[in-house]
Amino acid sequence: MTDHHDFDKNYLENGKGFKSWFFTVDHKRLGVMYLWAIGVFFVLAAIASFLIRFEHLSPGQTIISAQTYNVLFTLHGAVMVFLFIVPGVAASFGNFLIPLMIGARDVIFPKLNLYSFWIYCAGSLILLLSLAAPVDTGWTFYTPYSIDTGTNVILVTFGVFVLGFSSILTGINFIVSMHKLRAPGLTWDRLPLFCWAAYATSLLQVLATPVVGITLLLLIGERYFGLGFFDPAKGGDPVLFQHFFWFYSHPAVYIMILPAMGIISEVIPVFSRKPIFGYKAIAYSSLAIALISFLVWGHHMFTSGQSKLINIIFSVITFAVAVPTAIKVFNWLWTMYKGSVELSAAMLYSLAFIFLFTIGGLTGLFLGALAADVHLHDTYFVVAHMHYVMIGGTVFGLFSAIHFWYPKMWGKMFDEFKAKIAFTLIFIGFNIVFFPQFILGTQGMPRRYFNYAPEFETLHQLSTYGTWILGVGFIYMLYTLFKPVGAADSNPYRSVSLEWQMPSPPPTLNFKEIPTVTTSTYDYGTKVEQEA
C-alpha cells in the first residue's frame, strides 16, 4: 500500500511524530513505548522510595509527616507493582521480542495490542489522578481499613481494575500468537526460553487477573453501597478479602519474575557460547511454576487469623514451589561450565540476578516455615526478601535485557566499560540498602513504620546511605545508555537465535519471508562431548 511495505526501512524510521507512534500497531514500537512508560513510572516510584528511606535516617520525623509517609509507601508500592513490574518485562520486551523470536511479522492481534497499550495508559492515568487526594492504604488495600479511610481508594482501585484489562488482553495476545504464529519448524522444544517464560506469564495474567478485578470491584461496592462482604461490622470477613487478593497477587509475583528468568536463559548461553543446560527442565519448570503458583497464596496470611489447617496445607505447597526455582538456578550456572564466558554488562546483570535471586529465594524458606514466619511476618525481613526478588531478580533481569538487546532495539552500541561501572555501583548500593533490612526484620522491626525505636537507628541509616549509591549508579547507567557510541552490527554477540538474524534495528515487517527453523535456539558448541 504505502511506504511501510518498503522492507529496507527499519521500524524506528518508519514514520515520525507522535501520531506515528501512539497509533502504531507495530509490536516493536509498542514494546519500546511500554519500555518508556515503565521507565518513567519506575523513576517516579523510586523517588518515593528515596524519600521513604531518607525519612528513616533518624527515628521520629526527619523530613516528612506520618501521613505523607503512609501516602508515599502506598504510592511506591502501587506504582511499582501495578504500573511498573506487572506490565514490566512482559509488555516491553515481550512485545518487542516474541514475534521476532517465533519468526512472525507481528503478534496475532496487532490492533488489540495497540488497544492494550491505550488501556494501560488510561489505567495509569486514573491511578495517578488519585494523587489529588493520595491514598494511604498500602498497595494491598486490606479491608476494613480501605473501606473507611477517607482517601481516594475508589479511584486507585478502579485504575488497577482498568490496568487489569491491559494485562489480560496482552496475555491473550501472546498465548494465541505462540500457538498460531510459530514459524515452520519452530516446534515447542525449539522455542526460546524467553517465549516459554512469556507463555507461562501470560497464562497467569489471563487466569489470575480477573479475580483481583472482581475483588477490587467489590471493594468499590463496599465503599459505595456498603456491601459488607469484607467488613466485620456487617458480618463480612476481612480475611476473605485477603484470600481473594492474594489469589491474584501471589501468581502476580511470578508474573513479575518469570519474564526476567526468561531473559537470563537467553543471555547466559550467548555469553557462554554454550547451549542452555537442561532446556526441558527450565521450560517445564516455568509451566510448573505457573500452575503451582495458584496453590500457595495463603503463605502471605499465616498470621492473618487463617485456620491452622489451611496454614499447614499452604506451607507444604509453598515448599513445593521452591524446588523448580532451585533447579533453574543450577541449570543457569551449569550453562557456563566449560563454556567461553564473556563478562559483558548484560552478562554481569544476569549473573548478579542468579546470586541475588538465590538470596531472595533462600530467605523465602524462612518465611515458608510456619513457626519462623510467625516471628518474621510483616517485618523488614519480608521487605528485604521481596526486594531481593523484585529488584535483585526482576529489575536486574530488565537491566540485563536493556543492555543485551540494546543494539537490536536501537541499532547502536553503548559504552561497555561505563555500563560495567554503573553495574558495580548498582550492585553494591542495592546490597547495602537491603541486606541490613534482613537483620532489622529478624530483630523485630515492623514494616510500614513511620517511627522506630532508637536501637534500630544504625541499620536504618546504613540502608539509607545505600540508596544514595544505588541512585548514583542508576543515574550513571541512564547516562551511559543515552550516550550511544557508534552503530551496531546486526549480530554483535554472535547469537544464533532468530531475532539476531536480521538487520539492527529490525525492519518494520520483521521478515521478508517467514523463516524455516531447523535447529534449536541454543545451537552453540561442537557436538563431540554431547551426552556422556
Binding site: 484470600h243 485456620s307 491452622k308 489451611i310
Partner: protein, 93 residues
C-alpha cells in the same frame, strides 16, 4: 462443521434446555435437605454443558480450547475450596 440439519438440532437443544429449566423450577418445590444445592447445581451444569457443547461448538474445538475452557473451572474450585477450608476450620487454636 455443523451436522446435517443444524437448525433442527438447535431447536431440539433449545427444547431440552426449556425442559431442564422447568425441572429446575419444579425440583425447587421439594425439599431434599442437604441435596438441594447439589441437585440445582447438577441440573445447571447439564444445561451449561449443553450450551457449551452445542451452541458454543465446543464439540468441534481442539484440545487447547478444551483446556482453556476447563482449567478456569479448576481454579474456581481451588479458590472456593481453599478459602472455605480456612473459614470453616477456624476452631480456637
Amino acid at each position: 462443521m455443523a451436522s446435517a440439519n443444524p437448525y433442527k438440532t438447535y431447536l431440539n437443544i433449545w427444547l431440552l434446555l426449556m425442559f431442564l429449566t422447568f425441572i429446575t423450577v419444579y425440583a425447587a418445590e421439594f425439599d431434599f435437605g442437604a441435596l438441594n444445592v447439589p441437585i440445582a447445581l447438577l441440573i445447571a451444569s447439564v444445561k451449561a454443558g449443553v450450551v457449551a457443547l452445542h451452541f458454543m461448538h465446543l464439540k468441534y474445538e481442539d484440545s487447547m480450547t478444551w483446556i482453556f475452557a476447563i482449567y478456569p473451572l479448576f481454579l474456581l474450585f481451588l479458590l472456593i475450596a481453599f478459602s472455605a477450608t480456612d473459614i470453616f476450620t477456624r476452631v480456637a487454636n
